[in-house]
Amino acid sequence: MTPEQTGSAFSPARLWSNPASRALIALVLVFVLGCVFNADGAFFKLGTHRDTLRQASVFGILACGMTLVIISGGIDLAVGSVLALVAVAFSLMSIHWNWSPWVVLPLCLLLGAAAGGMAGGVTAWFGIQPFIATLAMMVFARGLAKTLSGGMKVSTAVKQADGNYHYVDVPAIFRFIDNRILGGHLSMVTVIFALCAAVAWVLLARHRWGRELYAIGGNEEAARLSGVSVAWTKLLAYAASGALAAVAGLCQAAQEQQGDPEAGVGYELTAIAMVVIGGTPLTGGRGGIGLTLLGTLTIGYLDKILSINAVPEASRLMLTGAIIVAAVLTQRRRRS
């Protein structure tokens, strides 16, 4: 691309050269698909959209954290397990121990951030590849979740001293998170997702730390020689990803009304797909939260459209795989 072109006004070529507009085109295509295969008008019902957003929210929260890490040139495979770990811890503390949400929520976020930060620290200081370090945390956190829960789902059926089970009420904080607002038209988890995206966006776009993440992902050595403390900056990205995985874990537990140590298996891969479909390249240094939002909606709606048209899950998975490849092919940067 020449400087003259960047300065020019609207043109189709310019639109296509911009990753945001390419991601938007993909989303629009999915919407067109939805309008054509509307399953006897189901696609035009408000409730369908509310549910699509609700189902995409947990993944979207993970994808926001994943975006931070991927922009720094890394990857975080641990988010699905951290989600399960926090879901278990949240349920234990809220349902079984009856702790106040004012204590439980900060502890859960801290737990997620610590898990992410540990993986990040191993990457940053020992030079272990992010893939390996977060893979290790993925396995470890899953094990910890199973240990805490004793391998069982942590539900409202609480075992008594006499060995019998007795059902307790779902805690208020669970109900709050799983609530709907605006006359039942918007799920609370979608609001939480929007908040997470907003915070991640502000940090990336307006904070020094965000700029330094881009610099590290774009050229780590140049960033280091420009005075960026590479290790801490990276560690914070993984800690933030862990904290966002914790938020996703809270939402997951509230929606299921239990802490399932088996929850979130494979979620990290969906989150990565959402980031990549949005147009943030795995090579780092580019991309952003806005793109990830588009990617989250694209996958979320695609899944919904296929399911309301009663496409069997087996075919859905194969189609999604094909679409990921197609999307990434169009997102690939053209040689300038």
């Binding site: 700029r211 774009g218 020689l225």
Partner: protein, 511 residues
């Protein structure tokens, strides 16, 4: 370009005619003629950037887009890959070796053309053949050892064996002794003598005068991408060789206006840098000099001199792997990290803007403010208006030409990229500027602007340490000069004393 009379009785193994090559706007080779004969060592001499590496990469099939012709045994050929060049009998041993570290010596020797039996690799046969080959060469290397477990010298010798296994008749060695100790060098020279006796043609690139005197049969000299001449080594004593390598007057292009130097800015006393860790030989050893405010001190040296490592060491790029004393404005310089160096007023323009200078996917603004973000933000929150103002101010100072300051730096021309890298460092308000190859790969217009900038900066009291591999540029811009050879300071010159011949001789270890 006249070719000095080569031995007309023999016909050369390789005949290069009119070789030209350009990288974008920069013409790096122009009409180069070269003959390589069997049974002799041809030393290819020239300053850094004279075009030696480009020339051998053309011969070796690395660069395929060039002008002119290559003849091997009288046949015009055009190798399109290193593999094709190898099939033609040309092997190039680069400084970065092309062995696979995790494979054994035998596997490496036969890599790409294995001995096979019924479609499977004949492991026993390969090992026996490799052992025979190494024995013939008098090399004591275990064929079953992994290459990564060998010393650098053994790796290099393995590379030679690999070349011979492919019937190479022309073997090019690019600074093969830079990582070797004295006994290893002897071993290599012994092998070279052996190869000569077998009728191989050796092309040897080196910056060390003592090596040239020892092994050269003939010497060809490149300067600024042109062939200056070739002569039997006996007819080219060191003084004359140096004269061939320099001999270029471009002084009028450099309008250096030296002012009166001010107070002492930086002082080094026995300064050493262990770039590769304390256990290894320091790449800078016991260097002492000082530079004053308003002064440009040139640091001369050829490849492997350690000049860039001196900059990196001062800047804290290798952490605290330094020894000796350093004072900045009469206070001890704390060397720990780049951040500490920047905070104390140091700036280091590295010699490779794409690899270590710029973040190519980011905008001009993001790059120009990267090193100064702590000052440009409040409690961690960036202040875009301040950043835009800073980038605009530095851009104006440097006459940066770009459609928009939001443009990705990767899309700019080389000269403008260099200006962005400079903008980043000027934005930190440095007191001592370390410039490593500030004009590498940029056009003449941008070069002049950078020269003018250096005048302006020193007039404002900045001190500059300058590395440039272009000797005329070094001589014309430096108020004083120090010269390094293999990490040690070999000479110091005032502007009046310095001549190209003296500086080059000192850089080659002949002070």
């Amino acid at each position: 370009m006249t070719l000095l009379a080569a031995d007309s009785l023999r016909s050369p193994l390789v005949r290069l005619r009119g070789i030209g090559k350009r990288f974008g706007p920069v013409q790096v080779l122009r009409g180069v003629d070269l003959d390589i004969f069997g049974g002799e060592v041809l030393v290819l001499a020239g300053e850094n950037g004279a075009g030696k590496s480009t020339l051998i990469k053309i011969l070796g099939g690395v660069h395929t887009d060039f002008d002119g012709t290559i003849e091997i045994d009288g046949q015009v050929v055009r190798p399109r890959s290193p593999l094709e060049a190898a099939a033609l009998g040309v092997a190039i041993i680069f400084q970065e070796l092309s062995l696979v570290p995790t494979l054994t010596v035998a596997d490496n020797i036969f890599l790409g053309r294995p001995l096979t039996r019924r479609g499977f690799v004949d492991d026993a046969g390969q090992r026996a053949a490799a052992r025979r080959l190494l024995d013939q060469l008098g090399l004591d290397i275990d064929v079953d050892q992994r290459v990564e477990d060998l010393s650098i010298a053994q790796q290099q010798l393995t590379e030679v064996a690999k070349a011979l296994a492919r019937d190479a008749r022309v073997i090019v060695m690019d600074e093969p002794t830079s990582a070797l100790n004295a006994p290893e060098v002897e071993k290599l020279f012994g092998l070279i003598a052996d190869l000569k006796a077998r009728g191989c043609g050796i092309v040897y690139i080196t910056h060390k005068m003592e090596e040239i005197e020892r092994i050269a049969d003939r010497i060809a000299v490149l300067r600024d991408g042109e062939h200056v001449g070739a002569a039997p080594a006996a007819e080219l004593p060191p003084a004359k060789l140096v004269n061939w390598m320099v001999g270029r007057e471009v002084e009028h292009q450099f309008p250096r206006h030296a002012g009166q130097p001010g107070a002492e800015r930086l002082r080094l006393d026995g300064f050493s840098v262990w770039r590769n860790g304390r256990g290894n030989r320091p790449t800078v050893e016991g260097v002492s000099f000082s530079v004053h405010a308003g002064e440009i001190l040139g640091v001369g040296g050829l490849q492997g001199s350690g000049a860039s490592d001196l900059f990196g060491g001062l800047f804290g790029a290798y952490g605290a792997q330094v020894g000796g004393q350093a004072w900045l404005d009469s206070r001890p310089l704390a060397i720990a990290s780049p951040r500490r160096a920047i905070d104390q007023g140091l700036a280091w323009l590295t010699n490779d803007r794409k690899a270590t200078g710029l973040v190519l996917p980011l905008s001009i603004i993001a790059n120009a403010t990267l090193a100064d973000l702590p000052r440009l933000s409040t409690a961690g929150w960036r202040r875009p208006p301040l950043e835009i103002a800073a980038a605009r101010e530095q851009g104006a100072t440097l006459a940066l030409r770009a459609a928009s300051l939001d443009m990705e730096v990767g899309l700019l021309s080389g000269g403008n990229q260099q200006k962005v890298a400079l903008a980043k460092w000027l934005q930190t308000r440095p007191r001592l500027l370390l410039l490593d190859e500030p004009t590498r790969g940029i056009d003449i217009g941008a070069k002049r602007e950078i020269y003018q900038l250096m005048n302006d900066l020193t007039a404002r009291g900045l001190a500059i340490l300058l590395i440039t591999s272009e000797l005329p540029e070094l001589l014309a811009l430096s108020d004083r000069l120090v010269v390094l050879h293999r990490g040690r300071l070999t000479a110091e010159f005032s502007r009046a004393e310095a001549t190209p011949e003296k500086v080059l001789a000192a850089a080659m270890g002949r002070a």
